[in-house]
Symmetry: C2
């Protein structure tokens, strides 16, 4: 669709990378400087929770975003190489995402907090399940054993469309998570207009802008002459 706008992907990849760095720094400052740091085992259970936003944002969303953008970041690289990087980045993202979700459950269980009652948790579990389904279909159809060329060609736009749907859901889930955690903190006394509240809210805004840039990169062509952005290179 962005092909019809006459914009190329390259400048948006730079914007996306800058916003990714900003979001990564912001979530680290939040969880380390404001929330006390990160730990997989600690007497202070909050440190276990802190791993959750860091892994979900940097591991799951940012690495997943780089995987999405990889064909437009390196448009001249050998297609098999970019496809392999796409697969590896998504694999690391989903593993780090699973560890991040584990940390949230561990924090809940160790602290006597209920699991899976909030819209954040529902959308989050649904989203990583869809992400996993997308990974499996993508692996089987495009990597090993790989479908017949005409099947791949028909499946690719669905892979892109469903992938972007799952991607937007991950962004929405991240926004819900930031709001939910901050609401808990504010209900137990955190200043509603303090530095930490503003840091978390601005992290939410940066994630929205980052996600928008990534979606534009995904649908925009790598080169101006291409008619459609989502299939820059033959599928076989």
């Amino acid at each position: 669709m962005a092909a019809g706008l006459g914009v190329k992907a390259a400048p948006f990849t730079y914007v996306a990378h800058a916003l990714a760095v900003a979001a990564a720094v912001m979530v680290l400052v939040w969880c380390i400087s404001f929330r006390g740091g990160l730990a997989f085992e600690a007497d202070n259970k909050n440190l276990v929770f802190n791993v959750h936003p860091v892994l979900m944002l940097i591991g799951y969303i940012i690495l997943g975003s780089e995987a999405i953008m990889i064909y437009k970041i390196f448009p001249k690289l050998n297609h098999d190489t970019t496809k392999l990087i796409h697969l590896i980045l998504h694999t690391i993202a989903i593993v780090l995402g699973a560890i991040g979700i584990y940390c949230a459950f561990k924090y809940h269980n160790d602290s006597g907090i209920a699991n899976l009652y909030s819209l954040h948790s529902w959308l989050g579990i649904g989203t990583i399940a869809l992400y996993g389904i997308q990974w499996i279909f993508g692996f089987v159809a495009f990597f090993y054993p790989g479908a017949a060329p005409h099947v791949r060609r028909g499946a690719l736009p669905w892979h892109v469309l469903f992938g972007l749907f799952v991607y937007v859901l991950t962004l929405a889930t991240a926004e819900l998570g930031l709001l939910e955690k901050l609401t808990f903190l504010q209900s137990t006394g955190l200043d509603k207009y303090g530095a930490e509240a503003f840091l978390v809210n601005f992290t939410g805004l940066v994630v929205v802008l980052f996600g928008a840039a990534v979606v534009v990169v995904a649908v925009a062509p790598a080169h101006a002459e291409e008619p459609e952005g989502y299939a820059p290179i033959p599928v076989n």
Copy 2:
């Protein structure tokens, strides 16, 4: 982009309408049966708040969604007529959205609750501001006085892309609002796994599926033979 998938808009308009009815019923049941009803003036300030989710979901999001889909709902109608319905529906949506936001502020102010500190409020204010900018540009470029035909043709894909960006932001804001209100209620004793919690969370899921259907309708062609979904009819 969905044009490349070979799907037509029509079946997705039916899905969207069914989900819109479901979401509307769910938010009304929540605000009337569970939360005590709706009022612009009342001793029970909660009734004033209840107008907010009802107007934002039914007035702002559902009417705005119908406006987005109108070209695909009535593909054979005269283009000037559908364009006028598109404009009128978006105008009603933005007015009802503004009234809905007013009710949230009125509830806060009458109850001594702080304004504009949450990510929901930040994204919400930002989104309706962008919606207003989109309305003004659309009115001037496509309705009155109207830009030159070649300018319209160049502006239309941007109108669609920016419109869909704003639309996805309204959906994200709705999800944040549902989670925020439910979190407040649960922090003051509402059952985390009770009927009301499930109703609100499922409303959030229905809104996500509804929004996905609307976006597919917007990018899919009305007829299979059209090459691109976002410009089914000449712009002039």
